[in-house]
């Protein structure tokens, strides 16, 4: 227990810290800020200490004994790898936040949700069972909602989208509150699928525990066999992947992430680099091997992993193409995240399709690491750029390189890593994914990934060119004239993104030295004999490797050159009249608008139609028909007074409104009526006992 306590404290510390934040805030706002960062620091140190000292294992305590459900932390290479990334990147972002968010309103709320976010993410990562994981999963969703909508007063400067943006008549402008809601609801769609899948698994396996799930796959009549007998195994796996699709913003649920840019830049960095979207990749990484073994007993592996790989590759291309025309700097980065996560999903999917499972698997996780580093750096630097230029549009920046050398340098370094230029870390990890899909024989997927690499090179250079190079834009000159010169960030804000950018370079330079040991380390998660993976050594000549490396580099560089020619040389101006392709991409392939048309407006229209046709139409028609019959009858017989008929018709017509009034009165808010209802309930219960139970 003694050493495993360290592992428990990794996720408990930020959660407790979050709860303490409102209390600490009473002392002094400065103390509150430092304490909030301190809690994350403790979590990060604990994560590293756990990796160094605690032996791998599943440390459980009883949770719901009657259902034999235990709670526990799973200490294994995969969870520690992830926990360390999450905790350390979060720490850097928290340090940056101290300066960046200084003087903003609602800071106690901000720190509370930031720590809650990190704590829930660490819980998600370290949980040893699906149920606990789901608590963290939902907690992450809740915090993202709160933080995206942090500026809930919806001031114009925090919106996303150009003024007047419309696609198919649907407004593409998003206020913080709206996009927070959108993120929450969209991810929830995936969560429902995930929850159904978790309960299906539990219903057949009677356990939530990851290790237990694997162990029980061994025997005959395992949960997988029972599910497969009903034809439910593959649907269960696919429903499970629904959760990651929502959380990691993969097609078709990718639309929430670009609008989630309404939060502060630090929040965007946290969502994109350390928490939220990485949760989906992690969960796929956590349960992917389990499903692999389960599905391989019934020859259904290619279907499941094919879906992952194709969704990943398609999302990568889709989002990259949208990034190529985006106008806002943070939106470029957001599309880029969706695209890069698509790469990771591609890698995890290809893992199941190729002859060597672990090659693709580790490629995906390595890319997660390098992406976390360079994307955090880009977002934090972009946050400062936004602050200096007082605009979110790239065409209102320009020429920043002269005044902000270090910020520009770090954006350049991180951007090169994103493009995949040697020797940056992004180069190695992206190339690993590309070669895994090539060597796995998935040439179409490889082609998609290569096209994405080209566009990535293009949009990265485009972003850098528009913001940093060239002449200052009109907006920027106006700012300078009014005495607001662009300047470098303070030490505490500059250091985080500068160090991350340099770290990205360092990780790339050292890659040949640590990649081998780290692969072995992560692979040791699956050292147990229960994991039967295909592990054929893919024989390649050094020449093939070199060829693949040079092709991907060449493609990225070509993309970069196109971007350079188009955007470094000329001044970029945002034009509303775009050519059809640009417009198609800029309107996000019209997907967002279609979702709105179908799901939001559709449901509203359906309910309105229901009201018009069912409530008014049918009721009235019934009433009228009823009245008409009586009228005819009365005319025919000349017996009934029309007044009686009218009254009868009115009676029927008013029946509906009286019913609804009666229902409304039930919820009166008057206490005594509730008490009377409660007393009647007791009496009915007593009557039941007296006459039904007592009689027998």
């Amino acid at each position: 227990m003694a050493t495993s306590l360290l592992a428990w404290l990794i996720w408990i510390t930020p959660l407790v810290g979050a709860l303490l934040t409102p209390l600490i805030a009473k002392i002094h706002s400065r103390v509150r800020d430092i304490a909030a960062v301190g809690f994350t620091l403790v979590a990060a140190v604990l994560a590293t200490m756990t990796a160094l000292t605690v032996s791998a294992g599943d440390y459980t305590v009883a949770w719901i004994p009657s259902l034999t459900i235990t709670a526990g932390v799973l200490v294994d290479p995969l969870s520690l790898f992830m926990a360390n990334i999450v905790a350390w990147i979060s720490l850097v972002i928290m340090i940056y936040s101290v300066g960046y968010m200084k003087g903003e309103f609602g800071m106690t709320r901000y720190w509370f949700f930031m720590n809650l976010f990190i704590g829930n993410m660490l819980l998600l990562v370290l949980a040893d069972n699906l149920l606990m994981m789901f608590f963290g999963w939902e907690g992450v969703g809740l915090c993202s909602y709160a933080l995206i909508g942090h500026f809930y007063r919806d001031e114009a400067q925090y919106w996303v989208g150009s003024p007047g943006d419309k696609a198919l008549g649907v407004s593409e402008e998003y206020s913080p509150t709206k996009s927070g809601m959108k993120a929450f609801i969209m991810t929830r769609i995936g969560d429902v699928a995930l929850l159904i899948s978790i309960f299906l698994i539990y219903a057949f396996a009677r356990t939530f525990n990851y290790n237990q799930l694997v162990i029980e796959l061994g025997g005959a009549g395992s949960w997988a066999a029972n599910l497969a007998r009903l034809g439910l195994l593959l649907p269960t796996a696919l429903l499970f992947f629904g959760g990651p699709i929502g959380k990691s913003a993969q097609f078709p649920l990718q639309e929430w992430l670009p609008d989630a840019m309404t939060g502060p830049a630090s929040v965007s960095a946290l969502i994109h680099a350390a928490t939220m979207v990485k949760a989906g990749v992690f969960l796929t990484g956590r349960m992917g091997p389990v499903f692999f073994i389960a599905l391989s007993q019934f020859n259904q592996v290619p279907q499941f992993f094919g879906v992952i790989a194709w969704i990943g590759a398609f999302t990568a291309l889709l989002a990259a193409s949208q990034a190529a025309v985006a106008r806002e700097i943070k939106k470029v980065l957001a599309y880029s995240t969706v695209s890069q996560i698509g790469y990771m999903m591609l890698a995890l999917g290809v893992a199941g399709l190729s002859a060597n499972f672990l090659a693709g698997y580790t490629a995906g996780l390595f890319h997660l690491l390098s992406h976390a580093v360079f994307k955090a750096s880009l977002f934090l630097a972009a946050g400062w750029v936004l602050h200096v230029t007082e605009s979110r549009f790239m065409d209102e920046m320009g020429g920043l390189a002269r005044a902000m050398r270090l910020t520009s340098a770090s954006m350049l370094l991180a951007g090169l890593s994103l493009m995949g230029i040697p020797p940056f870390s992004g180069f190695w990890t992206k190339d690993a994914i590309l070669s895994v899909s090539f060597l796995g024989g998935q040439y179409i997927l490889y082609g998609l990934a290569l096209a994405t690499a080209f566009i990535t090179g293009f949009y990265t250079v485009r972003m850098l060119g528009i913001t940093l190079a060239g002449k200052p834009s009109k907006h920027a000159e106006d700012l300078t004239e009014s005495g607001k010169h662009p300047h470098e960030a303070g030490f505490m804000m500059l250091m985080p993104y500068l160090l991350l950018a340099v770290g990205s370079l360092g990780l790339g330079l050292a890659y040949p030295f640590y990649s081998g040991p780290l692969t072995t380390y992560i692979a040791s998660t699956f050292s147990s004999a229960l994991y039967k993976f295909p592990a054929a050594t893919i024989s390649t000549s050094g020449l093939t490797d070199l060829l693949l490396l040079s092709v991907s580099t060449l493609v990225a560089v070509t993309g970069g050159i196109v971007g350079y020619l188009l955007y470094f040389k000329k001044t970029y101006e945002f034009k509303t009249d775009m050519n059809p392709i640009q417009r198609f991409l800029y309107k996000r392939w019209y997907l967002d608008a279609i979702y709105y048309k179908v799901f939001v407006s559709g449901i509203l229209a359906a309910s309105r139609g229901l009201f018009t046709y069912v409530e008014q139409g049918i009721w009235n028609r019934l009433n009228n028909a009823f009245a008409q019959d009586i009228m005819d009858y009365s005319k025919a017989s000349d017996q009934l007074d029309t007044q009686v008929v009218d009254r009868a018709a009115n009676e029927v017509a008013s029946y509906g409104s009286r019913l609804s009034n009666f229902l409304r009165k039930l919820q009166s808010g008057v206490t005594e009526q509730y008490v009377i209802a409660f007393a009647i309930g007791i009496i009915l219960l007593l009557a039941y006992m007296l006459f039904v139970v007592g009689a027998t």
Binding site: I683, L686, A687
Partner: protein
Amino acid sequence: MTDLLFLAFAAVTIGAAILAIEARDLVYGAAALGIAFLGVAGLFFLLDAAYVGWFQIAVYIGAVVVLILFTVMLVGPKMGETPLGLKRVSLLAAILVSLLLGMTGALANATAFPGPDSCGSGCSLTLLSTSLLKSYGVQLEFMSLVMAAAVIGALALSKTDRGQ
């Protein structure tokens, strides 16, 4: 002897309870409530739950009733209620309550509850305290946490409008 005591306690409890609800003045009502609590404490003694009885006296009469009296003073004894316009509600309540009583009576008759056995060591204070602190130690800790929250909540509530 115990029968007489029981009758006395029961009569005091019920009478005082009715008075607490019906007394016109809230101060008298609060006093009557205290006496009803005292009666219930007496019934606890009769059931060999002496510690709970003392606890009841200390908390209910020592704290709750005093708190209520303070509130009545602070709010002002004149703070009344509008007389019930609807006699129907009173009637309905009376019918419901009598139904409740009648049915419970019928149930109690049907099921013969024996008189309790003598307690022996089962009611000893030692057993209660070990049970409270050992078996239910965690729950006790949570209770104190809830209590702290309630105290903070009460303080926060009464503090908020200082400025206005």
